[in-house]
Structure formats: structure tokens, C-alpha cells
Symmetry: C2
Subunit: 238 residues, 2 copies
DNA sequence: CTGCACGAATTGATATACTAGTATCCAAAA
DNA sequence: TTTTGGATACTAGTATATCAATTCGTGCAG
């Protein structure tokens, strides 16, 4: 039998390696562009060129193209064959749907988490909330948002459905982009922390109904007002 | 300066539709391999070689690579850098999660569909069910399955959440692969039709609770018995 | 006989070169 | 002045070549 079988997928190899190419240039470029689009440094609707990007990064078009293809699948860019590549506009119609998807899946994860969470799990949530308090106090929105994501991801993991989080991440993309357009609301970070605490408490108490209710309330509170944004930023939406 | 200044509003396509050439060879190869893997013509675990595939299709390695990268994102192949590419084994651990995802999202779509379905919508469902009856009578499992997917997609569309269907499609992938391994159960097609009719009736009656119940029952009925399959097809699962 | 080190072969990753579709601009005709 | 058709210069798609890393066999040393 000549069939090869990879013995170990998770070969961390020589993790300290300075030269090991765990990250291909293509994925590095993907990360960069992904972040730039999500942070709106690259504005919706603007044209991209494989060639120019390749020159900026000092690489050939091949890895750039690979990155753009992945971004296209994520819905962050649109590729028109033989014509051009553009940063995708935020699809207004997709936003309410994304909210529904979030509510549907996070309802499932938070319910299951409330059923089976262990003391260790709660401790993990507490640690995340603690970090959020720090970032809120220091007024660091970026890191705060990072920990916000970590909180929701943790609940997925606790529920035993880590794959759901990756779905949520892609569903959240356009919402997050729109949210970047909203001015930071004073005190919003504190409210988020409060809501997270409520969710955490319900999970810790194994109170499924209360956990679901708290999560639904939390998710309803973060919906950006699209109609208003469209007026202020015409051309950013489709 | 001769540089062309493109106003960012210019989207090159009045392409709100299907007029664009999307028959790039890369996507054609993707479709082919996708179908081959899903139908198990390509068995889980076997090695693939870009070079050989390129020769078979009579193209260069570039579009083949592009297709493989997309398949890797869908979880249908695994690429080990500098080592090899393999048709992914069916991840047993992901199957229960996929079922949960399906139940969560289809619960949402069927509830909403039951709320707002119009007579036209019901007619569309009836048409699909009618086609299913034909394929069942003629014992055409492949086309039957096609209409089965169409039924669930239609419900997503009726609910106003077409994007949920595309999520469901990718979530369903591994389930469908496993299901291909099960022997066709005699009379199963007829049961599916009955369950679809029940769902359809509940939607038509705008009975949200009954629609949800019928859908949950339907989804529970199509879960393949993984443990048994693992015994019969060792090496197909991971 | 065993273990380790080295090297050839094979693979995916990247670079470069070429092809073919598309939009824009400008000139010529109405 | 407006319209229209084609030249032109762009783009992404594809082909080919090169690079680098991993694997596995082989041979030498212990």
C-alpha cells in the first residue's frame, strides 16, 4: 500500500523557528488586506490592482492573487474577470440577515454552554471580562473589541461547537464593517461589559432561559443603524 | 500624466446578473472536483497531485491550484505545504456539530417562512414536492436529492434569508458525504416526501409551532449512523 | 545488524511571461 | 452637437519556469 497518510496534522514543528514558513506570504497578505478592509482603511468601492499590491508588498502577483481570491470568498472584495477587483460595498440587505444568523447560532451555543459549563469554563469567561475592564478603562477600543470576540468565541468552545464560531466570524464581517462607521458611543463599552457579566452569571447558574434572554438582549443592542449610516456615507453601501 | 483616473463609483459591470463570464477554467475544475469528492468518486484520504490533475484537464497547474485552494477552504481537501494534497477524511467530530448548525438555522428559516409565506411561495414548494414524487417513482436518487436541496433552499428564500442557505450548504457538505455511504433505505424517499408535505402544510397554515416541530423531526431523521459507517469504511473518517 | 546522516526525488510555493477579455477615449460620421 | 465604432491601454486569467522544503531511500559508520 503506497497510500501516504499524514501521521500528525498538528505538528507544531519547531515552533521557535525564525525561518520556518508556517505562514505563507499569501496568507500574510491576506491578513493585512483583511484587516485593512475591516478597519475601513480601504474604503468600500475602491479599485484594487493585483499588480500594484504586489509591488507594494514586494512580491509577485501569485500570492497576491491567492489572497484576493480568499477575500472574494469572504465577501470582502469583488473580482470582475478581465476587468477589475474592488473592495466590496457593505451589502445593506445582508446586515439584517447577519443579525438573524448571529441570534440563531448564538442562541444555540449559549443554551448549550449554560447546560454544560464547568467551573474552569466560567473562570475563562471571567478572565476575558477582566481584560475587557482594563481595555475599557484605558479606552482601547481595538483591544476591547478583540476581547469581545474572544468572549463569544469562548462560549462556542464551551458549548462544544467551535466550528460555529468560525461561521459567526464570517457572518459578522459586514456588521463589523458597518459598526466601524458609527461614532463610539460614550459608555457603550461599560454596557457591553455589564451584558457580558449577565450572560456569564446565567451560564454559571446553568440557567438556560436567562442565558438565552441575556444573549438575545446583548445581540439586539449592537445593531448599527444602517439607514442613518447610508445617509452619511453614501457609496459605502449597496 | 497618462494615468487613468477612475472615479470610484464606476463599477464596471452593470452586472447585476449573469451576464459575466464566470466560466473561468479554474471554477470549472473546482466544480468537477467538488462533485467528484462529494459523490465519493474520489475517496477520502487519497493523495492528489496538482501536476496529474492539470494533465488530465489539459491545463496548467495554476487554475488547478486555485481550485484546490478553494476546496481546502470548504474542507474537502487538505493541503500539507511542501508535502501533498489529500482528499479530506470525513471529520466525525464535525458531524454532530453540523447537525446542530442545521437545526439552529433551519429552525429560524422555517419559523420565519411560516410567518410570511404567500400563496405563490406555497405553490413553489408544491412544485418541488411534485418533482420529488416523480423522481421517487422513477427511483432517481440523484435528482431526488437535488430537489430535496431545492426544498430547503426555497424555505430560506421564502423567509427572506437566502444567505442562510449558502451557509447551510457548506455545513451540510460532510453530512452529505457520509450519507452517500449509507445504503439507500427502502421507502426513505417516500418518508422524506411525507415530511416535506407536513412542513409545507404547516407553513401554508402559518402555524409556526407546527412548522418548527415538523422541520426538527425531519432533520433528526436524516442523521447518518456514523459509528456504524466507521466500521464498514475505516479510513474514510478521521 | 542498527542507526544516523546525507542526497536525490517529489511536492507545493513563488516568480515571471504571455493571452485574452473589457472599458475608456477619441475621431469620424450623421 | 451627438452618436458610433474602433484603436488602445488597461485588467485578470492562464501558462511556464524556478525555488525551497519535506520525504524517503541508501550507504557508511558504529
Amino acid at each position: 500500500m503506497s497510500k501516504r497518510q499524514r501521521p500528525d496534522v498538528s505538528s507544531p514543528a519547531f515552533a521557535s523557528g525564525a525561518k520556518i514558513r508556517r505562514v505563507t506570504t499569501a496568507s500574510a497578505i491576506y491578513e493585512q488586506l483583511h484587516a485593512a478592509i475591516l478597519s475601513l482603511q480601504m474604503k468600500p468601492g475602491v479599485a484594487l490592482q493585483e499588480k500594484r499590491i504586489a509591488e507594494e508588498f514586494g512580491v509577485s502577483r501569485t500570492p497576491v492573487r491567492e489572497a484576493l481570491l480568499r477575500l472574494a470568498e469572504a465577501g470582502l472584495v469583488e473580482i470582475f474577470p478581465q476587468s477589475g477587483t474592488f473592495v466590496s460595498r457593505i451589502p445593506v440587505s445582508a446586515i439584517p440577515e447577519a443579525v438573524v444568523i448571529r441570534k440563531s447560532l448564538e442562541r444555540t451555543t449559549v443554551e448549550q454552554a449554560a447546560e454544560i459549563a464547568t467551573a474552569d469554563d466560567i473562570a475563562r469567561l471571567d478572565a476575558i471580562i477582566a481584560r475587557q475592564r482594563v481595555h475599557a478603562a484605558l479606552n482601547e477600543p481595538s483591544q476591547f473589541h478583540e476581547q469581545d470576540e474572544a468572549f463569544h468565541e469562548a462560549i462556542s468552545v464551551i458549548a462544544g461547537y467551535p466550528g460555529i464560531w468560525s461561521i459567526l466570524k464570517t457572518a459578522k464581517l459586514q456588521i463589523d464593517r458597518a459598526r466601524r462607521l458609527t461614532l463610539p458611543v460614550r459608555g457603550r463599552m461599560d454596557s457591553v461589559i455589564e451584558e457580558h457579566v449577565t450572560i456569564r452569571d446565567a451560564i454559571a447558574a446553568h440557567d438556560v432561559d436567562r442565558a438565552r434572554g441575556a444573549m438575545m438582549h446583548h445581540l439586539s443592542a449592537v445593531i448599527p443603524d444602517i439607514d442613518e449610516l447610508r445617509l452619511v456615507y453614501p457609496g459605502y453601501f449597496s
